[in-house]
Symmetry: C2
Subunit: 451 residues, 2 copies
């Protein structure tokens, strides 16, 4: 919630109300498309469309490039047919694809008719690719250079074809059949000797991704190798397109959001949850809630199993919340460490055992400290030394196990090639709840029967 943006939104809204069209147009000229996009998200529906229509086609297309598909659709729908065609023509190919993938079949057909012939061919081919694949996010606007091009001619090609390209800083070298055979940075090209041909100065080892690879793998490769773009090839190593670092950033942000949501036990992409209907939102949250609901009924039946112990020492119930909650918290902490460690590649097949030991030790230390504190509190509160010992011991054991459960379950999922973030916090918490209550009531039963 940027202060300057709040003010800008307010003054533009006021200008819209007072019909100060010329002033707004002037203001929009100076704003970056990303800022205008942010402004449009802030402004409510009616004015949103009015504002959008004040931009020229070029700017409008740039702004659309920055927006989420559902707002794009909304805005484009508000335009006259001729305007639609004009703006679509100016949008970048990968953004058009993103947009079309969100639309129902019937609308796609209508929009496709508005594209110029050469774009139509590109777009139709790309639409067949899976949305979450490298192919789904690549662009076909890149610079390629045949391998036997002399350096001066290559520089001319960059000048000429570079205008339309998403990046001109990496030049992809292809053979006669458009196989990717090398790469050259613009930096290397401009400092190369003028009498060379590109084949002799290019790098033959090129990091590339397959068109069917997951989009996240492509983004991670860009991140790992600090690239500005990565080429996308088919199974014959033919160059299909490129993914640029700014799109990789978008993918990583999306995937992070997905991971955080999954960790919290939500099973959907962000756009559906935050802006969709409440009914749909509820639907995406229910699966884990229901699984855990039944899981915690099992936890409840553990208590029922020890009903007579509880009836004898009703004070045992007072410590159920603190034991369940602390166990769940420790389990969630370990889960977060495991899931993030696996996602960033810090936990590997070579070192995961040491992480488990590390986690067990940390859990034990945390368990001893919390257990000791709880023993003292229970003693002071209930004045019952036996109860204090049972509660404290249960806490110590439960936390150590909770740390292990939170660390090991995502590792197992990962080894089984299942996204470890699926082991959501709610799931881990439920497993820990059942474990904790069993430990607690077993200890209590033994102890109070013995004493």
């Amino acid at each position: 919630m940027d202060k300057s943006n709040i003010n800008l939104t307010k003054s533009i809204k006021a200008m819209l109300k007072r019909g100060k069209v010329a002033e707004i147009k002037e203001l929009l000229l100076y704003l970056h498309p990303a800022d205008i996009a942010e402004l449009l998200v802030d402004i409510q529906n009616g004015s949103q469309k009015a504002l959008f229509k004040l931009m020229d086609y070029e700017k409008a297309a740039e702004v659309l490039d920055e927006l989420e598909p559902e707002i794009q659709i909304d805005l484009i729908d508000s335009l006259a047919e001729k305007e639609k065609a004009e703006i679509l023509e100016k949008m970048s190919v990968d953004e058009i694809i993103d947009l079309l993938q969100e639309l129902p079949e019937s609308k796609v057909e209508k929009l496709l008719k508005k594209l110029p012939m050469d774009e139509l061919e590109k777009v139709k081919g790309l639409l067949l690719l899976s949305r979450d694949s490298a192919g789904g996010i690549m662009t076909t606007d890149y610079v390629y250079i045949p391998e036997d091009t002399p350096v001066p001619e290559a520089i001319n090609m960059v000048r000429k074809f570079g205008r339309e390209a998403e990046t001109i800083y990496y030049l992809y070298i292809v053979d006669r059949d458009h196989h990717l055979v090398g790469v050259l940075s613009l930096r290397e090209l401009i400092s190369a000797r003028r009498d060379m041909i590109v084949k002799d100065i290019m790098h033959k080892k090129v990091v590339s991704v397959h068109v069917d690879d997951d989009q996240e793998d492509a983004a991670r490769a860009i991140e790992k190798y600090s690239l500005l773009a990565i080429p996308v090839v088919d199974s014959d190593q033919r160059l299909m397109g490129i993914i640029t670092v700014d799109d990789a950033l978008d993918v990583l942000r999306e995937e992070t959001t997905e991971d955080i949501h999954k960790l919290a036990g939500i099973t959907a992409e962000e756009d559906i949850i935050l802006t969709g209907s409440p009914l749909k939102a509820a639907q995406k949250r229910l699966p884990w809630l229901l699984i855990c609901l039944f899981g915690d009924l099992i936890a409840g039946s553990v208590i029922k199993g020890f009903e007579s112990t509880l009836e004898t020492v009703i004070a045992l119930a007072f410590f159920i919340p603190v034991l369940m909650a602390t166990g769940g918290n420790v389990g969630t902490q370990s889960l977060a460490l495991a899931v993030r460690g696996l996602a960033t590649g810090e936990i590997t097949a070579g070192n995961f055992v040491s992480y488990i030991f590390q986690e067990a030790k940390a859990g034990l230390i945390v368990g001893i400290i919390c257990g000791a504190i709880l023993t003292i509190i229970a003693l002071a509160w209930q004045g019952n030394p036996n109860l204090g010992l049972v509660v404290g011991a249960a806490m110590g054991v439960a936390l150590t196990l909770a740390a292990l459960i939170g660390m090991i379950i995502p590792m197992i999922l990962n080894a089984l090639k299942i996204d470890p973030a699926v082991a959501s916090g709610p799931f881990i918490t439920t497993v820990v709840d059942i474990t904790t209550l069993m430990i607690y009531f077993s200890l209590a039963t033994c102890f109070f029967n013995l004493v």
Copy 2:
């Protein structure tokens, strides 16, 4: 846990054991520094250092650039004094800074002495800047061009000074006092007319960050405006350095990890937790655990407050786990949506009210569904219609409130300029636990007294 890497690690380990030094050296020549870095993390201590020493200084410096500071320190410590100086000289300035910031005072002095004079000046100035600021992650290896330089000469400057620079694709234009006055992409420079001077073709509106700005703000600006680098300026608008997109990616990854950890109630940076001593790890996890421990003792005292109700209907205890857990889960889900929505800028000052309503409705729907299911189960399990109604009603009310608590608390923190991720899952869960138990036992007491 990449399969090919596991095999590579194994075969290199075997080669090390059999002393096949020449073969390993050969292999290392073909590997990308990022891959070698990954390999080093995988391999255990002894062999790690042996392997590191097999690389030439150039490659070793590149590999160090890719590693976390603590492994860097470990590897550098294992080198002879002369080697240290050679490798340090080849590392990039921003990486040296990162490294020095992790070292104790005494070691910093020793290492600084090994730097060549010109680097020493740069490094000393940068060391004074805060670690998490834009200044702390910027590099001083950039290309700047005086404003009255003719285009052909500018191209020559790029060729000449570009060798050492982190990027040559953005050229920063400065006046006589090194004030940042404009920016030009290499793309624009090479397609510019040869008779122009850079001042006439540069962009005068430059997105920049202040040297004291948070590093996350710098990274978000790069992401938002799809930049390859962003200039860092002081309060007089003098150009101090640049931050490149690959460093922005690192920052965003770190900050995401921090957010996920904070959400799970862990109060530290990743490196300390996952690889530090278990005692330190425990220390970083205890603050929230203890706060929540006391919070859930309050939840326990709610039960104690209704002791007589519980003694009358002991079966009330069987449903404590499911009510607490489901309430906590819904609260955590809403928290995740709120924190992520705030971090990505989807929730703004203009639209946050609609998110709250949205969340209340979703909570209500989820509450009604879970409440109805629980009523039926309670009835079937305990054969007590009153108990069923109490449990179901409590569930419905508690979940609606949980959704609101999880959404509103991070929004309040955000408005108070506190990082909303601080409202960790454990904290929200504790607040929800207390609320849920109060609703449950109040309803139970009313209901069973009335009937």
